[in-house]
């Protein structure tokens, strides 16, 4: 799957303030480029979801923000510091759920691991840690290496949340969780956001699971951001227009440039277009199309339209 889309979507969120920002971020592994000039802008107190196909560079981006991988070019600012220079300091202020379910200290029990973290993080909230442990039904006497994938995820979420960090970086946070625990996790995150002012960056394939929490969306493909914008703007300006069209009809030029995706047969066509709803509808109508429906998209649908938009514009 290749995205040949010219970026019809905005990628600049303006002046901030940003809890996290990168400029021209490049990361290579050997001859392959994982991040190819990423300008990430994570507004303070935003809940930002990063979507993209496998291998788009999502996990690499999060690991770079944590200072766990070395970048090749560009600037990175995480809570006012450069994680490449002050990794320990930066990591102390981040709640991180890694993609990997395994623990570095697999011989410890869950209880020992929690105590270890309580010492490391000055802002550790022991009452909150206990409450989360109960809510997640985690056995503190269990050895970390014996935990199932879902149990590990729960422990990782407790570790990330219990020191109430100003920044959460969650890499596939619901991976391995069953439906009940996933819903509980979303409730826990809702309460967490209500109780503590937090900036959140979530990377996930399962956007539909976290979508109700999200207020910003970034679309990453092949190490590049195809779009970065408030959820409300995506809802209001990336729309699917369904229309009946006459024979030998062609799309007006001024709309063609903003088509992200096109689907349809001879007389009934669907376009996903970035632009002002009234303006696009008027343009289509004036060109002789009968617009039947204008629909906004879920973040998933928007991402799929962007990734599969190769035939756009025709």
């Amino acid at each position: 799957m290749t995205a040949t889309t010219t970026s019809a979507l905005p990628v600049n969120l303006g002046d901030g303030p940003f809890a996290v920002s990168t400029a021209g971020l490049v990361k290579r592994y050997g001859s392959s480029t994982a991040l190819n000039g990423v300008d990430l802008q994570l507004p303070e107190h935003a809940v930002y979801v990063l979507v993209g196909p496998n291998g788009a560079g999502k996990s690499t981006l999060l690991r770079t923000l944590m200072g766990l991988v070395r970048r090749h070019a560009g600037d990175v600012n995480v809570l006012g510091a450069d994680p490449g220079l002050e990794g320990g300091h930066v990591r102390g202020r981040i709640g991180y759920v890694p993609e990997d379910h395994r623990f570095g200290y697999s011989w410890l029990t869950v209880g020992q691991l929690l105590e270890h973290h309580a010492v490391y993080y000055p802002s550790w909230d022991p009452a909150y840690a206990r409450r989360l442990t109960e809510m997640y039904d985690v056995d503190p006497d269990k050895k970390c290496h014996t935990l199932s994938k879902g149990q590990s995820r729960r422990v990782q979420l407790i570790l990330a949340l219990a020191h109430r960090p100003p920044l959460l970086l969650l890499d596939e946070p619901t991976d391995g969780l069953d439906h009940v625990v996933r819903d509980a996790t979303l409730s826990i995150l809702s309460e967490h956001l209500a109780d503590s002012p937090t900036t959140v960056l979530i990377s996930t394939h399962r956007v539909y699971e976290v979508e109700p929490l999200v207020d910003h969306v970034g679309v990453l493909s092949d190490g590049r951001l195809l779009g970065q914008l408030p959820r409300g703007d995506l809802r209001g300006s990336l729309l699917r227009y369904s229309a009946d069209v006459p024979e030998r009809w062609s799309l007006p030029k001024e709309i063609g440039g903003r088509v992200v995706n096109r689907r349809g047969r001879a007389r009934e066509i669907e376009w996903t277009v970035w632009g002002d709803r009234d303006e696009v509808t008027r343009g289509l109508s004036q060109a002789g199309a009968t617009v039947r429906e204008v629909a906004s998209l879920s973040v998933d649908e928007a991402a799929i339209a962007l990734f599969s938009g190769e035939e756009a514009g025709s």
Partner: protein, 134 residues
């Protein structure tokens, strides 16, 4: 008061929450002076961003539907008269959705009205299992 959010719903989440409150007023399950759930509790229940609930409450306050009493919470405004404002408003929203659906199916207003009258007289309300709306 029960608020349900639907993924397939076109409306933004804060609008769905606002409409849920309005629906409660029209049906009488929510009355003047009744307390609304706290932002934190409703966000947790619906699993949404608390800011979405705050936004819904703020818009409802601007419309005069609810009152925020500092330190006490959010309440339905004492002077709300659902019959005068909320019923017609809700009716218009339902109509707008029906009209959009008709247009999608290539139907014109007259055909929709005729069908509404016909089935409205014969079928019991609430039976929407015959059509799933999309």
């Amino acid at each position: 008061m029960q608020i349900h959010l639907s993924r397939s719903d076109e409306r933004p989440l804060y609008v769905q929450i606002m409409d849920g409150v309005r629906r409660g007023l029209v049906r009488g399950t929510l009355r003047p002076e009744d307390p609304l759930p706290s932002v934190r509790d409703l966000a947790s229940e619906l699993r949404v961003n608390p800011r979405t609930v705050s936004q819904a409450y703020a818009e409802l306050e601007r419309d005069g539907v609810v009152q925020v009493r500092h330190g006490k919470g959010t309440f339905v405004a004492p002077e709300v008269r659902p019959d005068q404002r909320e019923r017609p408003r809700l009716a218009k929203q339902v109509a707008r959705r029906a009209l959009a659906d008709a247009s999608r199916n290539g139907l014109v207003l007259e055909e929709l009205l005729e069908a509404l009258r016909e089935i409205g007289e014969r079928e019991s309300p609430g039976d929407d299992t015959k059509e799933d709306g999309r």
